[in-house]
Symmetry: C2
Subunit: 342 residues, 2 copies
DNA sequence: GTTAGCACTCAATGTCGTCGAGTGCTAATC
DNA sequence: GATTAGCACTCGACGACATTGAGTGCTAAC
């Protein structure tokens, strides 16, 4: 479809634009050491590339800027990532190792480090708890009226909530209840815990425990509801958006930052449609507010089972090579770390 | 110090400026229904007020703007808050009641609602856990190498962390350990738990449990370290900063938003030097980055014991009356809600 | 096929004059 | 003596305009 020279020029233009954020002209391309043509020749090629839809001109007497299609071609055919940034990889690994204290924070840390290293915004989706199973259930009474219900899943995830204690239920009844639950529900997938509670625990409870109905209602409130099995979302470097010249307009940036505050929207933006690395450029993103942003996502998986996604949000003029290379490493490293618990 | 008329005029100027964000001139003050003087008279008074340091002039032919001293006088002597905004109070209470599901989220919700209602940024400092005592300790083994350690405090706060299990320690030993800890440490203030662990639990453990040293080391990692008893910080409406005309400069706003990402700094900014409501205007704030912001804080207390702080960060040109009134109500309501657990 | 040369375009930048909101002073008025 | 009308003055905001220069497209020469 494109001649070798066109590809080379397109590549040079995208590279230049990514660095400078300014429309690139024929002269500056011609001056590059890897290009041996005069500005006039470059101009002719640029004109062709524009006609083909790979480049755009902000106005008549300005240089060219890559179009969405141009970026797409660049990402699909021109950029070569991988072994070329061992520095970044080392840097990431040393940061990451240093901060890896708490497991719950792996994702938060990864997002922060990525944001730092790229100067873009980073988003991480945690593993869905849908696939976890119940490991342990506990009720800790705080006083006569309130208790804390704690649920531990097979992956070490801990959820807790405050619940009112039904009046008249004795401490021994509570203990019996907890024992029955642990005996019967341990190992059951979280998704099916609530239904199992009714189908199998109900009878058992009614036999051994007084105030059966109140206890059941209490238990129902103690367990995570269905809609809480969602991805957990971690955000890093949200304010990096402000450093990008394309977002110097306060209103535009406000729209995006507000978006970043909405967990469900974030989750939607990031959700991959395929495993591995995925690049969505500009209007390829469904959400209109980020139509001049690009999103690069990488899924991480253990034993072939996809656990979550980590991604970078930046301007369409993004350093694709660097980000893709980094995300590749990060997703693998995270999978390796998480494999301990899955 | 100031004549009645000067006070009235200063009040009018601050009011106007808070609403318009633009230097206010003598004419616009003269036109207000509650002021019966000609622009010339106002001008003379304004000139005096400027000489006294309550007003400033951006440039010769512009109107006047309140100085820090002017705001200070306004807050101390002119603004009357309290009964005058029952609408806001009702609005807040209805929002708050609606969202009050999870206790851990009280502060987050309060911060969000406040930010929403004021269009400023809201920060809430949670109760320090220093004063809590241990309620329950639990170890949940996930597999042969890892376990989850869970600590519940007397206030229902749950902390959990992933720890490696020392090799060779049996499940029964773990159970014994947990039982001893719960028997000996329940009711002990969190601050003294670690020292108590060595002074009293050590001997006991060595008598009943194998691999005593490893278990002790494991327990040490299981308990929250001293530096984790800090305030927890919740932030609401950080992006509201972007809507204020004084922060239309991207760089300035970036400095502030970056600040808001640093929990310790936030905590320092908000920490009150006295109980009740406190207003810090502009350079009265120690942190240079917010020298043209004002911070209004309210402490909330149960039984005379201060638990935490909730505050608002906005431009010096802030609606002090509204914010102070709201914070007063919010801090009381929060105290009432939290009193259930303290 | 490539490139030098040249006319052309157009945003960015700078200069200048106008406008108007606002001040400060003085003299008239209450 | 306090207040106010009147007026000259200041200075940023804004629009009109000319200038500049980076960049293009086209044509003709290489």
């Amino acid at each position: 479809m494109l001649t070798d020279r066109q590809r080379m020029i397109l590549n040079a233009i995208v590279d230049d634009y990514i660095r400078s954020a300014e429309p690139v002209g024929s002269r500056s391309i011609s001056k590059r050491s890897d290009v041996g043509f005069s500005p006039a020749t470059i101009r002719n090629e640029m004109s062709d590339l524009e006609e083909l839809g790979f480049l755009e001109q902000p106005h008549t007497s300005a240089g060219r800027v890559p179009s969405i299609k141009g970026y797409r071609y660049y990402v699909d055919h021109l950029v070569h990532f991988g072994g070329e940034s061992p520095d970044d990889v080392l840097k990431f690994r040393s940061y990451f190792a240093e901060r890896m204290t708490e497991r719950e924070q792996i994702l938060q840390q990864a997002a922060n480090i990525l944001a730092n290293m790229t100067s873009y915004t980073s988003i991480a989706l945690g593993p869905e708890s849908v696939n976890h199973s119940l490991k342990h259930f506990q009720l800790v009474p705080l006083n006569a009226e309130t208790a804390v219900a704690i649920v531990v899943t097979s992956t070490g995830h801990v959820e807790n909530r405050m619940i009112p204690l039904p009046p008249g239920v004795s401490v021994t009844d509570l203990e019996k209840t907890v024992n029955i639950l642990n005996a019967k529900l341990t190992g059951i997938p979280m998704m099916r815990v609530t239904s199992k509670l009714y189908s199998e625990i109900g009878d058992e409870l009614s036999r051994y425990v007084d105030h059966y109905e109140q206890v059941m209602s209490m238990l129902e409130h103690s367990l995570p509801a269905g809609d809480e099995h969602e991805h957990r979302v971690f955000l890093g470097g949200a304010t990096n958006m402000l450093t990008q010249p394309e977002f110097k307009d306060v209103d535009k940036v406000k729209t995006i930052l507000d978006l970043l505050d909405e967990t469900p929207t974030l989750s939607k933006i990031l959700s991959p449609t395929q495993s591995g690395i995925q690049v969505r450029i500009g209007t390829e993103n469904e959400h209109a507010a980020i139509n001049d942003c690009s999103v690069i996502t990488a899924t991480y998986a253990v034993n072939g089972q996809s656990l979550g996604t980590i991604g970078i949000l930046g301007p369409t003029r993004m350093d694709y090579a660097k980000v893709i290379g980094l995300l590749d490493v990060v997703s693998r490293d995270m999978a390796a770390l998480l494999s301990r618990w899955y």
